[in-house]
């Protein structure tokens, strides 16, 4: 899927504007709960009401049955000096549907009096204390940084520095700034130098976002990803689990999505063909293609490759068919394109003999790449938010990442047309320009990828087209459910793919 991330500026602004109401809890008299105080009585109940409103809460369509505190790790207690009491909670969330239980972490703070900057994070007033999401509280977030530097163990939580990485400071953190853009995790920038990222939904196993950059470092290919400096590890259900990771903050970077939107804006305002427009994105896309190819090569070196034979290919295509079938139940307009899409799925099943697979990024799009002054970086290796942990660890064709980027160029090109205030019927000339921008960027990306990998993704047109169609189907379902205004983007793409398949050989090399 392509970037649900808007430009970071806008998100920051939205947060300041106060999408959540400020706390109106009456100020309560301070108390001094000595020692390891029990958790406030109604906490579980309050969190059950609060969780579904959090962006990172994955099971929005399920009804919560019960929330229980599975584990609690006391972080700090300075209530007596007017400071916070910080507790890291691991929540077990059960649902009324009886389906799988999910686990989330919520670092909470409790204070007698809340500084204004923390007001947006208020959860509730409980037992005379204000309970809030602690990620905005520097006194609590800095503990993780300093704890990692000191190698502390807090209850079940082990704070460990990454071997060989630059040392973290043990004290003296001055600024802590939550970033407001993530989906499945929450990040805080400390001293404009460190990124502390909490994986909100806890799934047993080492998080891919820690594992894959490490793997790249092992094979000497750590360029193109942020440096890992430390992590917070615990156990869940008797298995290791990653709570948080500290990376070097990639300062002075812009995400690919905002860069691409800037380029499209320039193009549509400029009245020049895309190959002559000053803001042409092709050279950035080419460079990005090289970067992705280098990261793939590094992951292949570090974790190996396998060859998927006919049987495996049929299984993968089966998943695509299942996804399409499910999508058709939700979006009836897909019915008329199903036959065409099936042509391409069948073509892959019958004529692709083997596919090389390896560990990949898994959820690559323009919002997951950062342009720094000297490089493109890939970030957030967690994989698709909805995928299970086992899903994420699967080897896949690197073309799946390529397809993700190609779809993302298509999103960026057409995003303007769904923005509020845009005419319902877009100017056909502008649409043509956007199509051309998308195509140029896609071609340049593939060319850059080919320069480094030695193979052009377009040389596997059947597989690439199937992956593009599958991705668009996934997007169509996601957008219809969560962002209906965006649904027209993948639906238009599916329409186009179906038309192209119906009108000619799906083997055409110039499919982009």
């Amino acid at each position: 899927m392509s970037p649900p991330r808007e430009g970071a500026e806008r998100n920051d602004a939205a947060e300041r504007d106060g999408t959540r109401p400020p706390s109106e809890e009456p100020r309560l008299p301070s108390e001094d709960p000595a020692g390891a105080a029990p958790l406030p009585a109604r906490l579980s109940w309050v969190l059950a009401a609060w969780l579904p409103w959090q962006r990172w809460f994955a099971a929005k369509e399920r009804i919560i049955g019960e929330v229980t505190v599975e584990q609690r790790v006391p972080l700090v207690d300075r209530l007596a000096d007017g400071g916070p009491r910080g507790i890291l909670l691991t929540l077990r969330v059960e649902f009324t549907d009886g389906g799988p239980t999910e686990f989330y972490q919520v670092p909470i703070g409790l204070r007698t009096e809340l500084p204004p900057a923390l007001e947006p994070g208020v959860i509730a007033a409980l037992d005379g204390l204000v309970c809030y999401d602690a990620l905005a509280d520097r006194e609590i977030t800095a503990l993780f940084l300093h704890g990692i530097a000191a190698g502390r163990t807090l209850g079940d939580l082990r704070l460990v520095a990454e071997p060989g990485a630059e040392p973290l400071p043990t004290s003296g953190t001055r600024t802590s700034r939550p970033l407001g853009v993530e989906q499945s995790n929450s990040s805080v920038v400390l001293d404009e130098r460190y990124l502390l990222k909490f994986f909100r939904r806890l799934q047993p196993g080492v998080n891919q976002d820690l594992e894959l950059p490490r793997a790249l470092l092992e094979v000497g290919g750590a360029g193109h990803v942020p440096a890992i400096l430390g992590s917070a590890q615990g156990t869940l259900d008797g298995r290791p689990v990653t709570y948080a990771v500290v990376q070097r903050y990639v300062a002075n970077a812009a995400d690919g999505w905002s860069m691409a939107l800037g380029s499209v804006r320039d193009l549509l305002a400029g009245g020049q063909p895309p190959d002559q427009a000053g803001g042409d994105f092709a050279s950035e896309a080419r460079r990005l293609g090289r970067t992705v190819a280098e990261v793939h090569a590094g992951l292949a070196r570090a974790r190996g490759t396998r060859v998927l034979g006919r049987e495996g290919i049929v299984a993968v295509v089966g998943e695509m068919r299942t996804r399409l079938a499910a999508a058709r139940r939700a979006i009836s307009t897909l019915d008329r394109h199903a036959a065409s899409l099936d042509v391409i799925f069948t073509a892959v099943e019958t004529s692709v003999e083997e596919v090389t697979i390896q560990r990949v990024h898994g959820d690559l799009h323009l919002g997951q790449v950062l342009r720094t002054p000297t490089d493109w970086l890939l970030v957030d290796f967690e994989g698709e938010p909805a995928a299970s942990q086992d899903e994420r660890l699967r080897m896949r064709s690197p073309l799946r990442d390529v397809a993700g980027m190609l779809r993302s160029f298509d999103y960026a090109a057409h995003h303007q047309f769904i923005e509020p205030g845009h005419p319902t019927v877009p100017d056909p000339a502008a649409l043509r320009l956007a199509d051309e921008w998308s195509r140029r960027s896609q071609v340049a990306f593939c060319e850059g990828y080919a320069e480094r990998s030695g193979t052009d993704p377009r040389d596997q047109p059947l597989l690439l087209r199937a992956l593009l169609a599958d991705k668009a189907v996934y997007e169509a379902v996601y957008e219809t459910r969560w962002r209906p205004r965006w649904a027209s983007l993948p639906l238009a793409a599916i329409r186009r793919y179906a038309r192209e398949i119906a009108s000619g050989s799906p083997r055409a090399h110039d499919l982009l």
């Binding site: 995400d255 002559q276 803001g279």
Partner: protein, 603 residues
Amino acid sequence: MSTPDVAPPGVPTPGRRGGPAHSLALTPDADWFKRAVFYEVLVRAFHDSDGDGSGDLRGLRDKLDYLQWLGVDCLWLPPFFDSPLRDGGYDVRDYRAVLSDFGTIDDFVDLVDAAHARGIRVITDMVMNHTSDGHRWFQESRRDPDGPYGDFYMWADDDKGYADARIIFVDTETSNWAYDPVRGQFYFHRFFSHQPDLNYENPRVHDAMLDNLRFWLDLGIDGFRLDAVPYLYAAEGTNSENLPATHAFLKKVRRVVDAEYAGRVLLAEANQWPEDAVAYFGDPQTGGDECHMAFHFPLMPRIFMAVRRESRFPVSEILATTPKIPSGAQWGIFLRNHDELTLEMVTDEERDYMYAEYAKDPRMRANVGIRRRLAPLLDNDRDQLELFTALLLSLPGSPILYYGDEIGMGDNIWLGDRDAVRTPMQWTPDRNAGFSTADPGKLYLAPIMDTIYGYQSTNIEAQLATPSSLLHWTRRMLHIRAEHPAFGLGDFRELHVSNPAILAFTRHHIRPDGTDDLVVCVNNLSRFPQPVDLELTLHAGTSPVELTGRVPFPPIGDGPYSLTLPGHGFYWFSLERAEDSEPAAPTSPAPEAHEAPEEEPTP
């Protein structure tokens, strides 16, 4: 111009008959070149004092009041030496004579005197790599291989040597060797074939060139732009650029300047990537023991690219990959000069892009570059002209303005070679643009006459009369820059913003009295209005004051500092601490933000 034996009335001449006279020296000041705004002016193009159709030294002297008013600190004069003028004077025939068109040695001393009286310094080009083939040394060398000059040039029996040295003037030259029928040997030349390279393996060449430098330093000149320095030495198996022997010779030149002429500067013209160019500053342990200054060539095309792409990254990238320079050194930065907008220091991909964007007509190209002036390059868009100038005046380095760009002069791409950007200065809407009283047919080049850039609409007189003109705007900016030593002496840190169209940075300098001069520059490279959040919380409590109007902006708080900028807009803020607030940390918190790069720059 005829040799004036008698000075015109009203012009004081220093008493230099009968002995080597010096012009008045300015107060010694070791750092002047770091704070200075340079102004490149072609003697031929500025003002003609005697009506022969060519500008001259007296004409330039007559216009010094204008330059003082504008606010420039140092003039850079491309060569005015005796020359057959087959390469704009970079083909020197006699290092100790003024080209007769331009005047005399006396005129030069008068010019330096008059400039110094206005607090303006003067530097000129010294062409060290080669001479004209008309130079007496070459004539002697070809005639008498065993004579005193026989070994002054790089002679060989064939044209096979130094095969890895690239050819620079690809439009005209096919080899770096030329055959001389008189001597019956080939001679080496990195530039035009009429410019034989001097043989620096010969110590007598060192002595001869040092004596040439001393000659002008004795006359009071404030320094030299050392032309084409990377090429002084050649060696087999190398590309014959930036060789250790070249650096050793430059250190020798520097020792002479330091010992005999303190306060004068050496500016290296080394069209190289920054990591090679920094070598021309010499040893950082000593604060620099080669050239005081070097041009930062790759920055300039990237400013154009960044604005055209509406993305700061081309500029951020080149600055992030520019190594630290010694404490006593300074970059020279520019947008345009008398040469083509050189594209040697960009990748092939970037070059194609620049050609496509800024030189659509092939006639706009010259060698590996674009021969256009600033205003036509920017479609005469005032907003962009201001943005580019603001960048030039605020990025790290001493800015070098090119004559005429302060009024937005145009170019004439139909003229040969690089003459497109060397037309007469446009003073008035009168005949010959007020540049000369000569018969228009006698002018060395016709002034620009098109409807937009022509002298009848674009000239200094008209812009002086219009307070909102580019000229007045440029002058105001120069004066603001002069009030803030941070622009010249301060460190540079890029501020980290997530909007790719915004280039924001701080310049910070601690004055001798211990107070901070901290300037925040925010530039919108996009044609559209843009928002930006600046992370300035370490300066919480201070109120930014916008420098062009002294308007105080809201104080910085605990959160991001939000600004909106109009298309191609920019702000310069001074962060002035409120009297009663805590001492603010002077710089942003990422201490290594601009250390030497960890990775190789992208070529």
